[in-house]
Amino acid sequence: MSDDKAATNAETLAKTLEAGAGGSAGACEQANGEADIRAEAVVLTGAEIVCECLLREGVDIVFGYPGGAILPTYDALTRYPQLHHVLTRHEQGASHMADGYARATGKVGVAMATSGPGATNLVTGIATAMMDSSPIVCITGQVPTGAIGTDAFQETDVTGITLPITKHNYLVTSIDELAEDIREAFHIARTGRPGPVLVDIPKDIQIQTTEFVYPTEPVTLPGYKPPRRGRADQVEAALELIRESRRPVILAGHGISMANANAELAELCERAQIPVALTLLGKGAISERHPMCVGMMGMHGGAEVNHAIQQADLLIALGMRFDDRVTGNLATYAKGSRKIHVDIDSSEINKNVRVDVGIVGDLREVLRQLLDRVERRPNDAWFDRIAEWRADSELREIVRPADAPRHPAVSEGKLLGAQVIRDLFELTGGNAVTVTDVGQHQMWEAQYYQHERPHSLITSGGLGTMGFGLPAAIGAKMARPDQEVWAIVGDGGFQMTSMELATAVQEKVKVNIAVINNGFLGMVRQWQEFFYEERYNQTPMVNPDFCKLAEAYGIPAIRVTERGQIEDAVNATRAQAGGPILVEFVVEKEEIVFPMVPAGADLDDMIRRPTPAEFEQKRRERAAAKATPAETDAEPEPVAPAAVAGTRFGV
């Protein structure tokens, strides 16, 4: 069959699908009045089969970048107007956009790139998606089958390269397997513990033709059976531990929202009166205004949350993986507690932390099993203890209501990154989808922007990928155009992928970009301050004028240098229609994210911001030491050891 004939077939099929609205085989049946889509199978090129499969998987947007080995598929895309292709400025942007799209919707995001450098540029985004269990499918062109292994132009072993950073991957070896491979790829990406899947398609297979058969029965893979319900005996054992506990804490992770188990989590913690601590990616698992929610745990989590975990007698870990940023020193982590761990991935259980009860299953199912039997039991004394720890944290807080006394560490007129985030939270009513980059601003977001809904914070937690923020925000906004989306980025990470501003302009994506500019790689600088005796090696940055940079792309920009300007700038940004807009917040250069658990330290051994009293005490000591260096006979009052761990008393 000639290529022309195949093209005509493709158009017919595409129209049929369009008429069927859903794009599913079932819709197709109705439109055709045919019994089975296979009954009217048509001959298509491999490239067209790729497009057909994408449509049937419910894909509406493809993020990508063309090149030699994927050109046949890009040509076929012209015959599939239902597939909107977004031209990124770098393939890394494509994989992050697909990731942002996936995280904002729970649907599979799709990235496309050519062979060789196109494929390798996807790698950071794939690894990011892998670490945070984000469902994306990457389609890469490959050199023709006969040239594989000859170091052909733009050849790279991308299935080999991505082996450890994909949930699964395919090198398509025959056009007859292409449709099945893509179907499996989507199935694997979105089910079980979601993750990235890559499909590498040699150019000759994109050009060859075959009868297109799209199986209608569900995918069955003998070696892949995601678990559903938890084992009854383990659920029973978990209920027993909950009954016996007096100081329980739920550790809620990303798995809650991925399993749509938010309502079940809320019901569980209300019924059993158990405080809920969140991981970074767990934000949104339950509303942070919920009375049972105590906030974020871990390295920059609330001190009261970390104390509660260390003092608990039962940890109930739900869809989280005891990451080192969450546990601190494993040897001393929650030593006095028994532990229940529910996860869909059995290999997570007993990986970092030995648990008493491990339940493998879909969180929603398992929580329902628990809810069938869990008893109501007050934990008032436990909540009172947590409230005491919280009161201590509040003393040390710098971001305070306007009428509250200022923390003495904060000089008048300084613009604080933390304050910017809190104001943004209040001005957006906490209803925006925020997408962060990685660094101090990310932690401030986590600390000061309270999320109520699932999928409303999109951030690279596991891999900590600088450069993630802007492209992921573009992907998220395109996935959910009805939502207000803010990219919150630092000056460092922003410059890793700022070329995607052009993508946002070309696609008229209304994403609000907040650049928290402190002229430093702030988080690294903070580590240098605490642990490398303030040797700020390679962390100060000479930055471009971010407003002019935005303007060069045709993007309106606002610069904020004082707290008083935040409100107007945020309101103006929100009011701007039709495309991206950038606000640069020029913030205090040497602000610190408090509290902080140094890497490998005990979880409750935090570097705290001093309380106002501690701060004044230290100030008096310094002044006295300066005035009479040798004869300070006044006994200095003891300062909390954590407070002096930092060499400076930064904000």
Partner: protein
């Protein structure tokens, strides 16, 4: 620390061996031996993995193997009665003076001599790893010119059978490219 023997049924797809060996490296599993070969099922291969580790580590490997899409079933053969065999080809220096001694040793170990040359013999020996170890120690004084071992293969006894989970090859998939390598 103990010796753990795992048996895994895997689909004959390109790259399966790479996926499994990559897993060992990626998750720092220390593997003593790995042997791969065909089974009675056209589309399934079987791997036998031997590792020296504690029970938790072996458990971790089983779970991680299951995460691989191409792995159909994994059994921890230490949890059940099983037989394990290793095979070696050993080229032993043997001149006309001491050839008899070597042949006697082979008889005792029920090893077979499969090649005879003027200065050496090639011996084929099968058995548990320990037996092979003893044999090589005893022939070492004669001089081992070269040696190769297959790595352990193992199987449960009697009704302990590695389940293929009702494995059916995917419809429409050609078997032309079936190779675990």
């Amino acid at each position: 620390m103990a010796k753990h023997i795992l048996a895994a049924l895997v689909e004959n797809r390109p790259g399966v061996l790479a996926r499994v060996s990559n897993l060992f490296r990626r998750r720092s599993f220390n593997i003593d031996s790995l042997s791969v070969g065909r089974t009675q099922r056209e589309n399934l291969s079987r791997m036998t993995i031997v590792m020296e580790s504690d029970a938790a580590e072996a458990d971790r490997l089983v779970k991680n193997l299951y995460k691989l899409v191409d792995v159909v079933h994994v059994d921890h053969l230490h949890n059940q009665p099983s037989v394990a065999r290793d095979m070696a080809l050993v080229k032993v220096k043997a001149s006309s003076e001491n050839r008899r001694e070597v042949i006697q040793l082979c008889d005792i170990f029920r090893a077979r001599i499969i090649d005879v040359a003027a200065e050496s013999l090639v011996v084929e020996i099968t058995g548990e790893e320990e037996k092979l170890g003893h044999f090589t120690e005893l022939v070492r004084p004669f001089g081992i010119v070269e040696m190769v071992r297959t790595g352990v293969i193992a199987m449960g006894r009697g009704s302990h059978t590695l389940k293929d989970q009702g494995y059916k090859p995917n419809r429409g998939r050609s078997s032309s490219r079936r190779s675990v390598l």
